[in-house]
Symmetry: C2
Subunit: 492 residues, 2 copies
């Protein structure tokens, strides 16, 4: 398997596109803007799903499922939300095809099967879910509702890229309803913490936790919290959002509850989501010119073992020993693959597993067999060492933990080295183009200035960091006063 | 919680509809024909998914994800398949909404955003998947492809019923590609066995394995295998299908492979699926006039414990003991809920868990506490007994296995008692209306006779059973010769 990947320094964007396809993660389909997620890519997504689902359930949430379609009148009920998504909606207008009389074997849309009311393919499910919550909520005893949905959604993006921006994508969307503002805000923040913990401990991606500016806020929310990651090319990627919806959807759908005094009040809401976009973040944070680099916690195969042999007898001996090791590793819940295909050379296999980002590769040849050793190669550092077979299970278990930890530390060091305080607009432009990364800068707080900076530099405010330090300063563009720095970056 | 369920004998259909809603499984949404699957119903579906997914992976399948939309030209490529689904397709024709200038705050479909080619919301994914397989298959070395997808699909049904027939439903669809006919046929049969094993061992639903007649075959298949279950009202329900697709889709999408001699051949295909319809089968097989009855293997809560107390001190004592039991049960992987809500009476809780089909209910009052006992109630038989607290974990573990087994045996006895050999059309009509169930009868093998019988009686041929005995006979309608009995029934 020749890799022939474009290198990151040659063309980062091309490197990404090639890697996604060559590592068998996903590919473009015959449907404009929609991707096929291939088995290897889907296996990583399943690992993400399993971990997130566990974390959602541990924080008291239950899964449910709501319709794919939203009738137009329901969709437009929350006006800001509707306006925010109106320009990128797939719309179902008919419910039947019929034979094309002029073209045997072909079908046409049956004009007699026009829907009375158009259906929007959900770009997000607040409308359909809050129209349901109206039926579920009467009293404070019915609250909170803590519900999550795993689903596909459609946003008609004009420029698409595998995982990062596709017309259809997979995600989870949490939708909760509460009796008090404080409880809804606490939920919004709790889910931001869940996302941050997941990104850092499972994806090995350090994130900045922050609040979006009004311009970047989710349409229909009072406040959007986010986690922002930094890719190797110095561009930011929004990895997850958690929205405090206030009473906006409750008012749009008339969802009220009787409080303990029997008085009717509007319900408070939140929504929060992460999507298959996380796959893009995972790839762009860790991978290198040899291919994918996966953190052990999300790798479908954590350890691969490749035999090196000349004779069938050698292979038999080696296999007998390796089969024992495979069993021992599985007992430790390590996912292991023994690749004893005889029609492929070891070098081919090494390349393949490097491309696919398997964290640890073991090789064993006749000499290793004699010496009672394995050659152990780390994917993240590309280093090798020879390790005695006795106790190698525990060695590997520890190694996987070390890799997980060191991958995070490496990304963290890169990220921290790419948060730069800038004081003037000249400096801002220069750092943005040369050093790249997050630019911590003073801003006068107006959408106009934000828009102007975006126009002039393509940088957007990624967030007001939650750990913002109070500091008097002046806006890099207007010189007006500011009380703390916000994070700018070019972003995916 | 008053149950007030219509009884099965009063009106089976009404009983079903009420039960689905009152047991919090699902409800109709504001979107025509689409349901909301509520958390409790979804939790059962998740258990089904987890088990099926395990069985698919154990038989070598991997999950992947393909687009929701199918361009019309791709959809119509396999003509029979397209024709079979054309009349029930949701069709996306536009990709943008805009403000309605005559109606502030409202949106209309933007006529300038008409798609060049309409997109069909997938009613099934053979077309999109085989158009992808074309890219994946070159040589015999690329085969077999053993892929499954968990997804939502849309079929525009005119008359819908929760779980049984909904415009949108959730399912899994396996799509495999093979180099030989024999291998594809073996796969088709293997997946039928997987479905049968799942139905019988997890859902406790006995099934008849068989082959569909040409009339009832999947559009685009050469042969459709099925499992058929019998509901308590004597109507059959198709619970899963596995299709041998021959080379039909390979030819429609030009999917060829180079065999070992380097010669190009068309690939052989299968597809197989089960859906949220299984929820309907589960409900209608086991439940009674008190509500749902769930087999332990699929119950989100297997054991519920309800304290009965007068004073706070009593509750405290009981809770201390129960908390230990809860821990012990969880160690045995038994899913248990301790319901110590103090604002609800025990009788209310008993009713609630009966309605929700929790297999085992424990109650403990002050006397039980003194005597070192629990009252153990079985949901399936509605029987109670008093059991010593010592060793009750193991007792419950065994009891759950017993319930699982006895629920299956009960359904099996009912099913077996409702397979009736009939010899004449008069007898056929009488048994169909009085005894109901499967009617094993001779049929002359023609679609015309099948259609005529359906017209006259509403009974359809559910399948030619795989275990059909060779037996000379004459068709109940035409008197023409037949070589074995097929199974007729009225069906969902």
């Amino acid at each position: 398997m020749g890799k022939n990947l474009t290198t990151r320094s040659e063309d980062y964007s091309k490197w990404y596109n090639e890697l996604v396809v060559k590592a068998d993660l996903a590919e473009n389909s015959g449907v404009r803007g929609c991707m096929v997620i291939k088995p290897y890519g889907y296996a990583i997504w399943e690992k993400m799903q399993a971990q997130l689902d566990k974390m959602f359930k541990e924080t008291g949430h239950q899964n449910a499922y709501f319709p794919l379609f939203v009738p137009k009148s329901m969709f437009e009920a929350e006006e800001k939300n509707a306006e925010g998504f109106a320009k990128e909606c797939a719309i179902v207008t008919h419910y039947r095809l019929k034979n094309d009389e002029n073209n045997k074997g072909k079908l046409i849309v049956d004009p007699n099967a026009k829907l009375e009311e158009e259906l929007i393919v959900r770009p997000t499910s607040e409308a359909i879910i809050w129209s349901t919550y109206k039926k579920w909520v009467n009293s404070y005893r019915d609250l909170p509702l803590l519900i999550n949905q795993w689903a596909n959604v459609v946003r008609w993006e004009m420029r698409t890229r595998l995982f990062l921006r596709t017309a259809e994508f997979l995600w989870q969307e949490g939708h909760t309803a509460h009796s008090t503002q404080a409880e809804a805000l606490a939920e919004t923040k709790q889910m931001l913490e869940v996302y941050a913990e997941f990104a850092e401990n499972f994806m090995a991606i350090p994130v900045v936790k922050g609040i979006k500016t009004e311009t970047e806020r989710f349409a229909g929310a009072d406040e959007t919290f986010c986690i922002e990651a930094l890719m190797q090319d110095g561009k930011a990627l929004q990895a997850g959002t958690s929205h405090f919806l206030g009473q906006n959807f409750a008012k749009a759908f008339d969802v009220k509850f009787a409080n303990q005094e029997g008085k009717l009040e509007y319900v408070w809401g939140t929504s929060w989501g992460v999507s298959t976009r996380l796959m893009g973040a995972l790839i762009m944070t860790h991978s290198d010119d040899n291919g994918l680099v996966l953190p052990p916690n999300l790798a479908p195969i954590q350890v691969v073992i490749v035999p090196i042999h000349k004779t069938d007898e050698q292979l038999e001996e080696i296999s007998a020993q390796v089969n024992e090791l495979v069993k021992a590793l599985r007992k430790l819940n390590i996912s292991v693959k023994y690749d004893d295909r005889t029609n492929l050379k070891p070098g081919f296999k090494f390349n393949e597993y490097e491309l696919k980002g398997v964290p640890v590769r073991l090789a064993i040849g006749p000499k290793d067999f004699e010496n009672g050793t394995y050659e152990v190669a780390r994917r993240d550092t590309l280093t090798k060492e020879v390790v005695a077979k006795e106790g190698i299970e525990i060695y590997l278990q520890n190694l996987l933990e070390t890799i997980q930890k060191e991958m995070f530390e490496k990304s963290l060091a890169y990220r921290d080295a790419h948060i730069t305080n800038v004081e003037t607009f000249e400096e801002f432009k220069e750092v943005l183009e040369t050093k790249t990364g997050f630019l911590a800068a003073h801003w006068d707080g107006t959408p106009e200035t934000e828009e102007k900076i975006k126009e002039l530099t393509k940088a957007t405010i990624r967030c007001v960091p939650l750990n913002q330090v109070a500091e008097a300063g002046t806006c890099i563009l207007t010189g007006k006063p500011s009380t703390g720095r916000v994070y700018f970056a070019k972003a995916y």
